[in-house]
Subunit: 339 residues, 2 copies
């Protein structure tokens, strides 16, 4: 089992995650009903899952979500008051001490606590009122793929439980299967990207999380200096770095944020950027140097799941194109323990 196997395993993982987590998702929804807001702690890939929850729970369920600063709970030992908060820790391994310290403090302040993890026997789970096992199975590759989409699926399940709905998620495994069919096209695109050393990765709204996670995969696997931005933040300064040939990667989906993303990408194209776009907005077919599509029927709020699968495939093939080993990234260990 290598990275590519784990990428391809995702339709089955998502199917299993949905099938097994209806009940704990409903318990989280019940806990959230008594809270004014949610506080989420995560690092790396899990922080990107938290970013997704900000948009999903905020827009669909009216729940205000803040991403906390774990060091206040750990190295500084000066945790803020968590009055009114649902306290959520996201960690694949459930072991990073700084994330554990946030749930420990939530419990000490008698707030409801939730662990979203692939290790239900972990220290993180010990401090959680509800433990959601993302059911991804063992992830051997250092770069997280199936655990990320399983975390997003759990966040979507909780949103459906909070809304009292639940009939859309069964389409997810099919959408992800279709996304996997883009593999050959992602491989072809890497021929044009194999020499890049840096790039910007753009997204907005729900897919800001995808931009951040795509950039992280590129950093981990290809050593490309990939910098993620909300398209709005990009206009507040960083747009200055775009020059002819500068590689810009972007993710977008049909929805209220689409016009804004199209405008920014047209501006990048006018400045001569080389544009790689993952999306289902056909206006970008002519603007992009390379356009990698997921289905037109994919709901915007769920699009980060098929979108990141295409981004994972592109990152995997770019790693090979650069002559690197996707199963042995330099300088990384599977479990990172930060305090």
């Amino acid at each position: 089992m290598g990275l590519l196997d784990e990428i391809r395993e995702q339709p089955a993982v998502i199917d299993r995650t949905i099938a097994r987590n209806g009940e704990p998702a409903r318990r989280v929804a019940e806990l959230s009903a008594g809270c004014t807001h949610a506080v989420i702690a995560g690092r790396g890939t899990s922080d990107n899952a938290g970013r997704y929850a900000q948009y999903v729970w905020g827009s669909r369920n009216g729940l205000s979500v803040g991403l906390t600063t774990p060091s206040l709970f750990s190295v500084y030992d000066r945790p803020p008051r968590l009055d009114g908060a649902l306290v959520v820790g996201i960690s694949q391994s459930g072991e990073s001490p700084d994330i554990v310290s946030v749930l420990e403090e939530g419990r000490a302040q008698r707030r409801p606590t939730v662990a979203i993890t692939n290790e239900p026997e972990s220290p993180l789970a010990d401090f959680a009122d509800v433990v959601i096992d993302i059911e991804a199975g063992e992830e051997r590759a250092v770069a997280a793929t199936k655990t990320y989409t399983a975390q997003l699926t759990v966040i979507a399940l909780i949103s459906e439980a909070m809304a009292g709905e639940g009939d859309v998620l069964h389409r997810l495994p099919g959408w992800v299967t279709s996304a996997l069919e883009q593999e050959q096209k992602t491989e072809e695109r890497t021929h044009g990207l194999s020499e890049i050393e840096h790039c910007a990765v753009l997204g907005r709204g729900f897919n800001q999380s995808t931009a951040f996670e795509w950039a992280l995969k590129l950093q981990e696997l290809t050593h490309v200096i990939a910098q993620p931005f909300s398209t709005a933040d990009f206009l507040h300064g960083p747009v200055a770095v775009v020059e002819p040939g500068y590689p810009v990667l972007a993710v977008t989906a049909l929805g209220p944020a689409a016009d804004d993303v199209v405008d920014v990408l047209r501006r990048c194209a006018e400045a001569g950027a080389s544009l790689t776009v993952i999306g289902n907005d056909t206006r970008l077919q002519d603007v992009a140097t390379s356009y990698l599509a997921f289905g037109p029927d994919v709901d915007e709020w769920l699009s980060p799941i098929p979108a990141i699968v295409i981004a994972q495939l592109l990152s995997y093939h770019l790693t090979l194109a650069k002559g690197l080993d996707p199963d042995a990234p330099r300088g990384l260990r599977k479990i990172t323990r930060t305090t």
Copy 2:
């Protein structure tokens, strides 16, 4: 008046900001007493000021602070519930519609609202119960410098008001004057950096905000692809990009986070990175290729103010070393209106 003048003006600006804002800071402290948490909206430089508030109000005042996602309030028009929240908008111009929409929604939900701005007659101020004029005077340079340190000073003033204290801030202008004395050393350092095209910028805790703002100045002025990280997040993946000669910039201050930062920087040095450090932790004098110091007596929680001044000077001189015009950055306007 150009960028360098505005950088040098900062001790006087900070002195004025402190002298004139005691009363509105106390009003914000009173409003915060009835809130469970704070929600801050800002973009670009102002978002970095919000990041500073997360640490300062969280650790010194126990106030949990979340940085909100403005697009939920603007493009998506699906604002979350703000129950219990102090709603704060930070914007130099007070004009960006997405930031204004957050305060407008705060008022519609009958929550206390605060505007921190250099334009007290702006649309942002119209929706604020308390308007804090940062009193920075007109900022002509596109790259924000004095408005950023004035925003941080206001956040520190509010923290002092919440704590019922107020005798440390008078030392700030002197610390910033000392920081300005590092100018020649920053200019010398730029000789070793004039060819760089990308770099990582690291900080943790209070100075995570400094790392993000330093990276933004480099992007705006020098077109260097500067990517900011918390040192903890850096270990969760991006550390893989470090190779011999790779430029790493870092900010640190004596305090609980210092050991962690020193460990990460030693690891970068072992991997052959070229290290530029701004700090007052003398352990890093031997580790860093270049060490730019602020005073050993600077309190950690206030260190982001003198630290960013040194970073601004380095960014300014690197712009000149690259043959670019610091007063006319490519592709940027002073007021960015994002929706």
